[in-house]
Amino acid sequence: MDIVAQTVASGVLLGLILALSAAGLTLIWGVMDVVNFAHGDFLMLGMYASFFGWAVLGLHPLAAVPGVVVVLGAFGVLVYLAVIRPVLRGSVLAQIFATFGLGILLRGVAQFAFSADYRQIGDSSFATGSFAVGPVHLGIPQTIAALGALVVSGLLFALLDRTTVGTALRATAEDRRAAELMGIDTGRMFALSWAVGAGCVGAAAGLLATYFPIFPDVGAVFGLLAFVTVALGGFGSVGGAMLAGILIGVITSVAGLVFDPAYKFTVAYLLYLVVLVLRPQGLLGRA
């Protein structure tokens, strides 16, 4: 029983990080109908930013999180202006290729600039510290990262729900033409969605960097899971992304206990397929 509790707890912690990164992805999709295939690589860049903040400036990775959010947010806007906006005029296929190609480019540049070595943010006593809650051991950086993810997600909700800008974003997501007719500058909204979306990924990256190894291909580890999370939760629904993230985290963790761990992701993907068949718009997506 202890073992199951431990597994579920670890699953929730991982799921929250997944949820945060998926939230960013689903926001961009919801507002613009563009899937950012370079999403995992944005995460990778954020992790490197955190690493260099620590290595060069001596910043504790947690303190660096706001900085990474800003850096990635700015990068998101840059990507929107330089890559996405021109490609919006083209076919959907062109948009897919654009972000996909961007991802490959980022990976190559990262390997060239930073080498293929695995980096780890120093102080391993912090990275391996843990505390016990009954029979369950929670890793310190994982718990802090999960709490951080909750906080940032809460901020995201507040932005979308309580502010004018957030309402404008949601309006653009719902119906672009109508939003334009209401006087909302959709171009600005697109750029903002990239900024906020990338910023969320940045937050997830900064939190992950406290304990996860950093290398040019780390995007592949989380990228695919993020897509599944977004699709499961419903494209465009931030709440859906949060819920799906936690679900996937717990399910893969428990599946590893019940079935052969080599197949634990298979279970998550199977679940996703089932949901797709029964409810194609995802758990909380709009129909």
Binding site: T128, S130, L225
Partner: protein, 438 residues
């Protein structure tokens, strides 16, 4: 009008037919023709090397590349002060008029299909005389298939899957011992440890392994030899290389109740596994690792003090230099050039180049068939290799029968040879202290 187009078409077809090379002669035969036509020995001998230079295993790829480049540099320049084959000949391959070795690298990116494609390209376009590669057994399997088909020798220095020599290939030669021999080494080591620490060595083991060819083979052979040496394998836990979290896997290990863990992991997953074990307070008498991630140059820097007391089978250790001076000599040069010590990977890749160069030199030619013959006659003594082997000599399957592994333990942040006892530089520490008691 029609007649003129037909005429033009006919001319085009005839010209095209004349341009096309007749047949698809294997690279070996083409080289024979070239070699026979020119009586002069070549100035340069091309060696193709396919390794994971990008992707998840890129750090290891860089290490292997360094080992190979150093070997080529030493052979080409000659070093009378080092007692390795060919180095006292004044530079280059003596029997080929001092011809220099030239490496042509290709990136497998860790992918078997890409490794195979690149091998084909190296042989057919770059016209390399011999191929070497590819570290990962899964990539070596496909790359050497291409070489076998194109009839070019493939010398494999670092892949440890035993299936590689079970294919009845004629052009495949492997200098390193394989996971089957290494798995047996584990149990020989455990038996020796049990005589040293009577009553403190359990008979139950649990296996944690990646779900690729390397990991699955380790699992298979450990189970095979466990039966032979009367140890019980309680369970095997496989995991995907790219898993971001290993909680379920580690909890399964805990649930098995086995005191001894045998692990086959690469760098990132090994780091993650150990950290998870520490965080979740999962303890073992010993962790016996099958090389790979545990011997990566970044393993101890990344895992830090938590790596202490872990055991790994190794193929090579820096402290072999205390019993074998050429090991220290070569490692010092490597360190001066690249800033890190050699590892079992770079040391084996380094040795592989000497096997190739020695064979080409004895063949007195870059003809594939002659090199193949020369490789079969290889007999390099223990004193002339930087490895802890009894020598290099290939059997009918292409396997070096004189190789063996060693066990090293991480003590004080360094790899210390603890087995075989006659090569040990320090005594074994058993069992591993619990996480909370360190």
């Amino acid at each position: 009008m029609v007649r003129r187009s037909l005429a033009q078409l006919a001319v085009a077809v005839v010209v095209a037919a004349a341009c096309v090379q007749p047949g698809a002669a294997p690279a070996g035969q083409q080289q024979t023709a070239t070699a026979a036509a020119t009586a002069q020995p070549p100035k340069e001998v091309l060696i193709g090397a396919v390794y994971p230079l990008t992707g998840a295993l890129a750090p290891t790829g860089v290490d292997l590349k360094n080992g190979i480049e150093l070997a080529v540099e030493l052979i080409n320049s000659g070093r009378p002060d080092i007692d390795l084959p060919l180095l006292k000949d004044g530079g280059g391959l003596k029997n080929l008029g001092g011809a220099k070795l030239k490496l042509v690298f290709a990136d497998s990116a860790g992918d078997p299909a890409k490794g195979q494609a690149e091998t084909e390209r190296l042989i057919t376009s770059e016209k390399v005389a011999v191929m070497t590669g590819a570290f990962q057994s899964a990539v070596t399997a496909t790359a050497s298939q291409a070489a076998e088909r194109l009839q070019v020798p493939f010398v494999n220095a670092e892949s440890s899957s035993p299936t590689l020599v079970a294919r009845d290939f004629k052009w495949f030669f492997r200098s390193t011992p394989d996971d089957s021999m290494f798995a047996e080494n584990f149990f020989q080591f455990l038996d020796d440890a049990a005589t040293r620490f009577p009553g403190k060595v359990a008979k139950k083991v649990v296996i944690l392994h990646t779900d690729d060819l390397f990991g699955s083979d380790v699992n298979k052979f450990v189970r095979q030899f466990a039966e032979k040496y009367k140890y019980e394998v309680v369970s095997s836990v496989a995991y995907k290389l790219t898993a971001p979290d290993l909680t379920s896997e580690i909890q399964r290990l805990k649930a098995s109740g086995a005191p001894i863990l045998i692990e086959a992991s690469y760098l990132a997953d090994a780091t993650l596994a150990i950290r998870t074990m520490k965080q979740q307070d999962v303890n073992f008498q010993a962790v016996l690792a099958m090389d790979a991630g545990f011997v990566d140059t970044k393993f101890i820097p990344n895992v830090g003090k938590d790596a202490e007391f872990m055991l790994t089978r190794e193929v090579w250790a820096k402290d072999l230099g205390t019993r074998k001076p050429i090991v220290k000599q070569v490692n010092d040069i490597f360190r001066a050039k690249y800033g890190t010590d050699m590892t079992g990977s770079s040391a084996r890749a380094f040795t592989g180049i000497f096997v190739i160069a020695d064979a080409i030199n004895r063949a007195r030619s870059i003809d594939a068939v002659k090199i193949q013959e020369a490789l079969k006659q290889t007999n390099i003594p223990a004193s002339q290799i930087v490895m802890p082997w009894e020598g290099i000599q290939f059997d009918a399957r292409g396997q070096n029968t004189k190789g063996r592994g060693i066990m090293v333990q991480i003590q004080g942040g360094e790899y210390v040879t603890v087995w075989p006892l006659e090569l040990a530089s320090k005594p074994l520490i058993w069992p591993m202290p619990e996480w909370t008691k360190r």
